[in-house]
Amino acid sequence: MAMKKFINDPANLTTELLEGYCLAYPDKVALESGRIVVRAKPKPESKVAIVTLGGSGHEPALSGFVGEGMLDASVVGDIFAAPGPPPVIQALKMADRKAGVLFVVLNHAGDVMSANMALEMAGKEGLNVRMILTHEDIAPGASAPAEERRGLAGCIPLYKVAGAAAEAGKSLDEVCKIAERFNDNMATLAVAIKTATHPQSGQAIFDLADDEMEIGMGQHGEAGTGRSKLMTADRTADVMADRLMQAVKAKKGDRLLVIVNGAGATTQMELFIIFRRVHQFLAKHGVTIARSLVGEYLTVQEMAGFQMFFAKMDDELLKWYDAPCDTPYWTVR
């Protein structure tokens, strides 16, 4: 598949995209040292800061969620690659003022390694940082050990609930507790039907026959384990919603946050058709969708596919979910 994208020199992709992004939303975000997206107007020192890291290429994630009520800093790596330890250490230092830092790390080898090295440095310098690792991918099975499960788009609503608690002046302990509860009650499953190209190499990031789909696809195009023939939207939604419902142990009367997150090339039309079936499936089981989002939050270039996300909600989590925030890609007034 020949790559056809609006890019310049592939060596400058991340630099150019970050510059463009911060120029587009200058009232909300700013670029620090070329690789750390920060709030244009930092929150008061007395409030807990939320920091994250990840590779570029997934826009709007992760940096699209820097702003009031969500992230304070997003450390950005090359396309699909974690940033190295130095900018992470810098971001943690900048973020740790009076109230400490919640450091949200998605479970991918590079991210975890960089995070661990940064935390080691942070410890030596006496920084007040608490790390939370997201690993809500259920592709290898919901009961697979956490180390084997990737962190996918679930980090984004996690930034929302943790960010809201931080903005409300909760302590680091309290913010961690809320984040951990959300973390423990969420699950994501991804599916892909058409590959994307890696913008640096121009190469397809995986192979899929014209009539195939892969449930469990990773968010860098790394394959999952569930290749099958292409199914209809309804059948796909049923299969995925069933696994997710079991993963979050949703029972009759429970309330869920449901996100259908497009991978980049899947049309909004398709995402709505999928959501419709998810709603029907859950209604059949007496499970309520308390809140929902359908759109592109964490993409994989021009991959055709989506991530389906469920989180079991309670009154407190809903309160934080509904709290005001002001970021370029998620705003609540």
Binding site: G77, G84, M113, R150, A223
Partner: protein, 215 residues
């Protein structure tokens, strides 16, 4: 030669960078089979940062130069290669300490220090289909060779050969780490890009030392 100093270490690093540069596409292609295809790019970026660090460093102190290489790598290359290779060079730096010349056993200690530091960053074990499957055999072969004779060049050659064999040996392994892990059985059948990179790096090291036969 029976000992190496600052200049030889610099040449080794440059030699490793050249090998990676020459193999960059091959490494990325290996990575496409089971990952996201960027390994060659990431390794080249890491080694270019290493080259820049050695260009900026000054003799005769080896440890600070290696430390600068480590931080350069970590600043330039992310993903998993950055922290892994960065910690490797940090460990080497710590093992070298104040020494300005390294005989065979000291070279082995240097690489053992690097290996130990890298292993702190990952729970991977031999057989998990990672860089370690080339690095561990290389370091073990090096230690054995330096125990058997004083010539550093031939000891490094043994290490490079062991790394190459180790990398080839990953072909039928199932990946337990990295993006390939999610493929399960499907990760078998191609050699691991990380192990291949280590093999290239050690070849570069060995060739550089062999070319420096001053004694």
């Amino acid at each position: 030669m029976e000992a190496i100093g600052y200049d030889e270490v610099v040449r080794m690093i440059r030699g490793a960078a050249s090998e990676i540069r020459a193999n960059r596409e091959h490494l990325s292609k290996l990575d496409s089979a089971t990952g996201d295809g960027d390994h060659g790019t990431a390794m080249l970026r890491a080694m270019e940062a290493a080259e820049k660090a050695v260009a900026d460093a000054r003799p005769p102190a080896i440890a600070p130069m290696l430390e600068a290489v480590a931080w350069g790598i970590m600043g330039a290359a992310g993903g998993a290669p950055g922290p892994l290779l960065g910690s490797f060079f940090l460990g080497m730096s710590e093992a070298v300490g104040e020494r300005q010349t390294l005989d065979g056993p000291a070279v082995a200690s240097m690489f053992e220090g690097g290996l130990a530091a890298m292993r702190k960053q990952t729970p991977a074990k031999p057989g998990d289909k990672t860089m370690l499957d080339a690095l561990i055999p290389a370091v073990e072969a090096l230690r054995a060779a330096t125990g058997a004779g004083p010539d550093v060049a031939s000891a490094m050659k043994r290490a490079a050969d062991a790394a190459a064999r180790g990398a080839e040996g990953t072909r039928d392994m199932q990946a337990r780490f990295g993006k390939a892990r999610n493929l399960g059985e499907r990760s078998k059948g191609t050699v691991d890009p990380g192990a291949t990179s280590i093999s290239c790096i050690f070849k570069g090291f060995a060739d550089a030392v062999a070319a420096d036969k001053n004694t």
